[in-house]
Subunit: 267 residues, 2 copies
Amino acid sequence: MFSWIIVLNLEKLSFLTTKKTAQELHGEDFIYNLSYDSVIFGFNGKLLKILILEYHNTGLFALPGGFVKRNESLEDAVKRGVKERTGLEHIYLEQFHTFGSLTRSNPSAMKRILEENDYDVKRNEWLLDRFITVAYYALINYDKVSPKPDSLSDSINWYAIDELPSLMMDHEQIVEKALQVLRDNLEKKLVGMNLLPSKFTMKQLQKVYEAILGEELRRTTFQRRILGMNILERHEKLFQGRAHKAPYLYSFKSNNINKSQEQKITT
Amino acid sequence: MFSWIIVLNLEKLSFLTTKKTAQELHGEDFIYNLSYDSVIFGFNGKLLKILILEYHNTGLFALPGGFVKRNESLEDAVKRGVKERTGLEHIYLEQFHTFGSLTRSNPSAMKRILEENDYDVKRNEWLLDRFITVAYYALINYDKVSPKPDSLSDSINWYAIDELPSLMMDHEQIVEKALQVLRDNLEKKLVGMNLLPSKFTMKQLQKVYEAILGEELRRTTFQRRILGMNILERHEKLFQGRAHKAPYLYSFKSNNINKSQEQKITT
DNA sequence: TATTATTGTAACAAACTGAGACAATAATTA
DNA sequence: TAATTATTGTCTCAGTTTGTTACAATAATA
């Protein structure tokens, strides 16, 4: 009992010292040379956005990422990281590529980040080594999130995908690849389900598709095609107080919930 | 000059000692906890096959895999491994998934493999740790390869995809996923180019598609669709000495060679 | 010279897609 | 209360793609 209290006090004290060795960065807890990065997509009704964090006093922007503990699975590590940043659990996650070039790491930028955050560089030297990173994208409901910066970064914000700041290392390539794969998967998986509230209008759904594809779609063709898939359930009308016919609300049929991760059966 | 000779002699001698510490397994040369595995597809004219190796005296079958050197890129590591096993350079390679569950590694099987091959287990202890593996598939011309086993395995052989032996660890799941992704990519990439000789008949191409999809296709529809893509060049007829009309030989148009890795432009 | 098996292509129907038209309708305005 | 406005849901028609069947061409064999 007593030892518990001491440990807690020590942890609290460590935040007050000049040289931090934050518990979550202790090298022996993690697998070396391996990281993950996440491209967290959200949709604000008009634009597709992703979460970007900025490190303290460095002007460096990066994707939310992290490391894999020795006793946790790769996927659990990513879930843990996304949950820390978004507060969300049970998130739609899709692994899309692993980046392993020799040139992708940037020890001097990492050193600067550690120094600016008062971490002891020597005790965290494993962070300056080369990293191979497994990249995931997440699709989340924009409105349900209030993003939280981690201990190294002082802000985490939504950026529209065509208004990103310049990102460190190869993170711009990672975003580019995430978008490619998301576009490919748009026809195969029920992407909209994860980016919209549970009830939505046909127009909202179309806007999601347009934001992802980066092009406009024909309204009548889109509506016919989506309804033809037989994956939507029609609900009551939505009266928006506008001077025109009210649209119906739709939801994805419940038997499709598990299919959001699966492949669409093409007839 | 002299020191060179000594070094070479020591290396040769090491093969004669009971406890080997093969140069290619020295732990300090490699990134820990990270491996790659390759699903190498070939087509023998009828069946889609993959290369499986069998470890000495263990009855354990596995995918050809390996480790990433500290100073080489992930992709170079895979190329090196595939070249060692097949002798082929400039291979069509596609990364498809990274497997990182906690349960996928099997230290006792690895220990057995090391012991049966007279490796010093203690000096290679890093091999008994957990591994996260990046999986690639390769498409190669079946006839141009005479597979070579590596130092740990005593055979490497082609197996039809529906007649595989039971594989160690999660390698069966890896093969399953490779097939899924290959099937998805069949419509998007020029897969046939890499599995067939440079000149082939329409029937051969159709057989490749059928072997990958695992279903029969309608001859006339297939022919019309492929010719409609405008990616094939027609050459002389092939006289097979059979009592019927001789088929034309085709090749992929040379301006498509770079497109074999790219996405097909859907009209 | 007739037969056989396979190939290349055409013909037609069915299904799907692009583009436009139009009636229905919720709120506003006259 | 009735006309107006903007958007929605659906229909039509033409153009394209796909499934199916048919058939002529043809290399070797009987």
